[in-house]
């Protein structure tokens, strides 16, 4: 890689922030900014142009979803890897729908974390079993809702997502289904993509209905 990947770390705890940033620098990343506030993160994103933002969902000023929205507005191509403690399911789901592509528990091991950053930087979706369960639940909720044209998963995508939710690695899933690792990866990515697209369509429709277009 000729150019180093630019990272921003957003976490309201200074010790954690410094620790994570140091790990990332040691791993060869260019940490261009660290901040503890969501608003500031959105503000400096435009100037520092990170490729990946490592974002703690629990920030003191604005919600994680708002930060993801703000970041994506400032830098449409930015990739967001969320970190959170457990027990924040709805906010994780909302942030994913807003455009975050990765999610990791804060209790994840350091090598797991670095792998997740690398995959996020490479444009891959990073799922925990918990996130897969949330996404699966969201598709089912949308399918049961009365709104027209809900996004739907193909049978294969549902199958893959269920296996991710049951804790199988992509490699194990590929073996079990007799497909390539890359195919599993694509399926997972598609499930997120459709959900995010649906969310954007919904937001647009809402804006038009409210006369805000």
């Amino acid at each position: 890689m000729t150019e180093r990947i630019r990272l921003m770390v957003v976490d309201d705890h200074p010790m954690w922030r410094t620790g994570v940033a140091r790990d990332l620098v040691e791993a060869g990343y260019d940490v261009v900014a660290t901040t503890g506030e969501g608003r500031q993160a959105v503000r400096i994103a435009g100037a520092t142009r990170p490729d990946v933002v490592v974002l703690d969902l629990q920030l003191p000023d604005i919600s994680g979803v708002e930060v993801v929205h703000g970041l994506r507005a400032a830098l449409p191509d930015v990739r967001v890897l969320m970190l959170s403690a457990s027990g924040e399911q709805q906010s994780v789901l909302d942030a994913v729908k807003a455009g975050a592509t990765g999610y990791l528990l804060k209790s994840a091991a350091p090598d797991e974390f670095l792998a997740a950053v690398a995959r996020t930087a490479a444009g891959e979706a990073v799922f925990t079993p918990g996130l897969a369960g949330l996404v699966l639940g969201e598709y089912r909720r949308l399918a049961a809702a009365p709104e027209p044209g809900p996004p739907a998963l193909t049978e294969r995508e549902t199958e893959v997502l269920r296996l991710v939710a049951k804790g199988l690695s992509y490699k194990q899933i590929a073996e079990r289904l007799g497909v390539s690792h890359r195919t599993v990866q694509n399926h997972v990515q598609n499930t997120l993509g459709k959900l995010q697209l649906h969310n954007r369509v919904e937001l647009t429709r809402y804006a038009i209905e409210q006369g805000l277009d």
């Binding site: 010790m15 403690a85 027990g87 209790s107 350091p110 079993p129 639940g137 909720r141 939710a165 804790g167």
Partner: protein, 377 residues
């Protein structure tokens, strides 16, 4: 009079209503006395009785206003004064006039102690007071007729009604109190969770994180810090699911309570509502499956639980990535009844009309899938 002690706030309006009743009924009684005084045998004797009635109405209203005074001495005095006024009619009005239809002295004023007793002690005390005053009323009546019994039965009705309302007020008060306590506890818990999240957890996580790259004792310390971090996270994340009042509980919340550093739970973000009996059976089956996984999968294995809310069924899968079971062994163990998993899980799930599928292979862990149909309520 325990109900009185339990229900301060919501009883106050009832006591105020009794004061209003005392004055209104006093006015009515005085009007009747003024109108009929010519028929009394001893009209002048009515004056002290009227003074006592006015005096006691004012005194009782003031005395009953203090909750700590609403006890036996005051209640009995109230009843005694009223009974005395009632009985004095014999002397003031005379048997003959009473018999020919002249109203008594106390009339509706008679009912005030009944109401007071009913509010202070519930239906039973109210009924006792109504019967006592009713009996006194009968004593001065020359003959037993429908009119004399009507007064007593109306007092009984009032006693039962007011006593019932008082009990409801006490219950409502207790519930309100509990709700307020719960809310305060929840708020306190949230505040603690925020504080712990902002401080202790971050430090523990950092220790675990930095220590993981060190050797020997430091690494062990880091591992311990990590365990404590996970335990603490669980503690602040999983509040007890709110007690169900509608008989419907969230299966997601019940199952999420099993999450730990080895058990990962995936569930929809929205609630999975099920009748509480069904949900607790499923949760118990999940518990049995987790025990089984912990016993057979080996200490290094991770356990994953997935809760899925489908249109017509709920599916819960418990999977471990442990050693797995050889194809023949599972069935054999089940036949021998050695596998607790069979009874504890199959029994519960089939009782709910559901199915259990166990899938396992050596090296691939064990997967127990429970599907329970949703029964339209």
């Amino acid at each position: 009079m325990t109900t009185a002690a339990a229900a301060g706030g919501l009883q106050t309006p009832l006591w105020r209503a009794i004061v209003v009743f005392r004055f209104a009924s006093l006015a009515w009684a005085l009007a009747l006395i003024a109108g009929n005084v010519r028929d009394y045998v001893r009209p002048l004797a009515a004056i002290p009785v009227v003074v006592v009635m006015i005096g006691w109405t004012v005194a009782a209203s003031t005395l009953f206003a203090r909750p700590e005074r609403r006890r036996w001495p005051l209640l009995i005095t109230d009843l005694a004064v009223t009974a005395a006024v009632l009985l004095s009619a014999d002397l003031v009005i005379g048997r003959e006039a009473l018999g020919s239809g002249t109203p008594g002295l106390a009339v509706a004023w008679l009912a005030a102690p009944v109401l007071a007793w009913a509010v202070a002690g519930g239906r039973r005390l109210g009924v006792v007071a109504a019967l006592l005053l009713g009996a006194a009323d009968l004593v001065i009546r020359p003959q037993l007729n429908q009119a004399s019994l009507t007064g007593t039965s109306l007092m009984l009705l009032a006693a039962v009604g007011v006593g019932h309302v008082t009990r409801l007020a006490a219950i409502a008060e207790a519930r309100l109190q509990r709700a307020v306590e719960l809310e305060a506890a929840t708020r306190e818990r949230e505040r603690l969770a925020r504080d712990i999240h902002d401080s202790v957890l971050q430090v523990l996580a950092l220790v675990r994180r930095r220590g993981a790259s060190l050797d020997g004792e430091a690494r062990e310390l880091a591992r311990l810090a990590g365990e404590q971090e996970a335990a603490l996270r669980r503690l602040i994340a999983t509040g007890a699911p709110p007690p169900s009042t509608s008989g419907v509980v969230d299966l997601g919340a019940l199952v999420t309570a099993y999450a730990s550093d080895v058990v990962s739970v995936a569930a929809p973000a929205t609630a999975v509502p099920l009748p509480s009996a069904v949900a607790s059976q499923i949760a118990a089956a999940v518990g049995a499956a987790l025990d089984n996984a912990a016993r057979h999968a080996g200490p290094a294995a991770g356990i994953f639980v997935l809760v899925e809310d489908e249109l017509d069924a709920v599916t819960v899968t418990v999977r471990d990535d442990g050693a797995g079971i050889e194809p023949g062994r599972l069935a054999a163990a089940e036949v021998e009844g050695r596998l607790g998993v069979a009874q504890a899980i199959r029994g519960r799930i089939t009782d709910l009309g559901g199915t259990v599928r166990i899938h396992s292979a050596p090296g691939q862990g064990t997967e127990i899938e429970m599907v329970v149909p949703k029964v339209s309520a």
